[in-house]
């Protein structure tokens, strides 16, 4: 019985989401990107590290659909393989950050008083250290690898989500329906998970979808200082950084990975907006 009810809830969510054409477009693009990332070795026409010194900075041609970079590596292949690291960095890091942030923010906001004070002062200290510096330090301690870069990125972007969540929870926690839940014996955990969090997620969803893009770019910075993805493994952020140097002569080198980042951010954003509206039963979309 419960299963069917859960299913019907998901179905209902899908039905509402479906009506938002932009959100569906976002979902399709995102799924495509994920499929590309998973099937990357099959899709890439060349090896991402294969150099061709004769074809340095080659223009687009039937051989190299998007041209080549300085070392004559096929740009399309690098973009396709790069989707793996970049998408992981964007999504997993944000997922880590949002989960911890929501937990801290919800706890601080709901309980208030000294719990709130401790959490917030801790975040103050945390935020007084420049985020990138902290991120680099953390990644350096953990050792250079994609996985550690993701962890470092995730942990460093917690404060933003925590603060936003706390502010959002503060507007919800004094509502009468929270008291009404207490009157029927709901415990704090239940109230937070079932009533407070669902009702204060709306601004978080937008922030989370925006966070994907900034994490991809911040990840490229880690790669740039040698702490993230190790060359020659491609990654969009690093490719943008490399392309920037030859922006005037070969603008496409920075443009294409830039478009990829933009596309993933846009897709997440549209989907996030759609989800936020679909999750709110008050909106008839």
């Amino acid at each position: 019985m419960k299963k069917t009810r859960k299913k019907s809830k998901l179905k209902d969510l899908w039905r509402r989401l479906k009506r938002n054409k932009l959100a569906v477009a976002g979902l399709v693009v995102l799924i495509l990107l994920i499929i590309i990332a998973i099937a990357a070795p099959l899709l890439a026409p060349y090896s991402y590290s294969m150099q061709d010194s004769k074809a340095s900075y080659a223009a687009a041609s039937p051989d190299h659909l998007l041209g080549t970079d300085k070392l004559g590596r096929d740009l399309l292949s690098r973009l396709i393989i790069g989707a793996r690291a970049s998408l992981q960095m964007g999504t997993i890091a944000v997922a880590i950050a949002a989960t911890i942030g929501i937990a801290i923010g919800a706890t601080a906001g709901y309980f208030g008083g000294w719990t709130d004070n401790i959490c917030m002062r801790f975040l103050d200290i945390y935020q007084s250290i420049p985020m990138l510096l902290l991120c680099i330090t953390l990644a350096a301690i953990l050792g250079p690898s994609l996985q550690n870069a993701i962890i470092a990125l995730g942990v460093c972007s917690v404060p933003g989500y925590a603060r936003l969540m706390r502010a959002s929870v503060l507007t919800v926690r004094d509502k009468e329906f929270i008291e009404s839940a207490r009157a029927v014996n709901a415990g704090n955990a239940r109230i937070i998970l079932r009533h407070v969090v669902p009702n204060s997620m709306a601004p978080l969803i937008v922030e989370i979808t925006m966070g994907v893009g900034s994490c991809i770019l911040a990840g490229s910075l880690l790669s740039f200082v040698g702490l993230g993805v190790q060359p020659p493994t491609p990654e969009w952020g690093t490719m943008i950084a490399e392309g920037r140097n030859v922006m005037r002569e070969h603008p496409t080198l920075a443009l294409y990975p830039g478009v990829c980042v933009m596309l993933s951010v846009l897709a997440c954003n549209l989907l996030g907006d759609g989800l936020r509206d679909a999750l709110d039963p008050r909106l008839k979309n």
Partner: protein, 316 residues
């Protein structure tokens, strides 16, 4: 009938920047099974706080509460859980007291889920039965509160309160947020339920015409204190306290030839923060005299009729 609820010298103070706010200050009353106690008073007199304190949604500062003969002033966790199955609350505003993201059946089922005694199927059946009891059609099962009108939402609130089969319900102005036409429906529903289930109500309101209609006893509160208490008929027939008199004179009478003399109160309500020991109504009372600045005690002027005014005999 046995006494169900007894409240002795109950106090609830709140700490504010200016000092202690005496929201509820030494309230005494008892309520029998299946009876209704109406609690009236103007906004901010502590009537809602009183209800919430009895239910332990707020912790009492001082005093004792007895329920079914047991002292429940400081219940432990498990005792509190058990207690909430016996005493429930219906909230004032059905717009804010329901989670906007929970469907009607989810909202009604929540107390049962937390209680965890019934199987899934039994809970669904029980929810349907409760919806039927409060007059909600089953087709509203999967609708959300915002899609319903105020009366239907309040029915959800009532179904939630009933789901744990309590003996006592605090009704915190359950109809004041509703249209007049719907008020009557909800009041009648509550009276029917009282008859069927033998519920005791503490009916908090500022609507005097409703309170007369449904209450057995009426308690009039002013700034956290009880100023007068009597059976409903007696209170309206033989009003003693000057505040009650002013309050009752404000009831509109649907008769254009009836020229009632409204007693207009002047001045502001005395601050509830660190109040003076004397009568709190003194500043606005036209009968105020010197002895009013002394501590007022409740006097029984006729059997079951209590009044807290030292001059009630002089002011007929």
């Amino acid at each position: 009938m046995a006494t169900l609820l007894e409240v002795r010298d109950l106090k609830k103070y709140f700490k504010t920047n200016g000092g202690m706010l005496h929201a509820v200050d030494g309230i005494n009353f008892s309520l029998e099974e299946g009876k209704t106690l109406g609690v009236v008073g103007e906004s901010g007199c502590g009537k809602s706080t009183l209800g919430r304190t009895i239910l332990h949604l707020l912790d009492p500062t001082d005093g004792r509460i007895f329920f079914d003969g047991k002292d429940i002033t400081n219940p432990g966790r498990s005792e509190m859980h058990r207690l909430r199955e016996e005493m429930q609350i219906i909230f004032q505003d059905p717009y804010s007291s329901l989670d906007p993201r929970k469907s009607v059946s989810e909202a009604i089922m929540e107390p049962l889920k937390i209680q965890g005694r019934l199987s899934k199927d039994a809970m669904i059946a029980e929810t349907r039965m409760l919806m039927d009891t409060v007059g909600l059609a089953t087709r509203f099962e999967n609708t959300y509160p915002h899609e319903l009108d105020g009366g239907r939402r309040q029915r959800i609130g009532i179904a939630r309160a009933l789901s744990l089969t309590p003996k006592f319900i605090v009704c915190d102005e359950p109809v004041s947020a509703l249209d007049v036409s719907i008020q009557a429906q909800i009041i009648n529903l509550m009276l029917d339920l009282q008859e069927e289930r033998g519920l005791a109500y503490m009916f908090v309101t500022h609507d005097l015409s409703i309170v007369k209609y449904i209450s057995d006893d009426i308690m009039v509160m002013y700034l956290g204190q009880m100023v007068e208490k009597a059976s409903a008929d007696e209170l309206f027939r033989d009003t003693r306290h000057p505040y009650t008199k002013a309050l009752l004179s404000a009831i509109p009478v649907p008769d254009i030839h009836n020229k009632t003399k409204r007693i207009l109160l002047h001045g502001e309500i005395t601050s509830p923060i660190n109040p003076e020991p004397g009568c709190r109504f003194m500043a606005r009372c036209r009968y105020a005299a010197e002895e009013c600045s002394q501590m007022q005690t409740l006097e029984e002027c006729s059997p079951g009729h209590f009044v807290a005014c030292c001059r009630y005999k002089e002011i007929e």
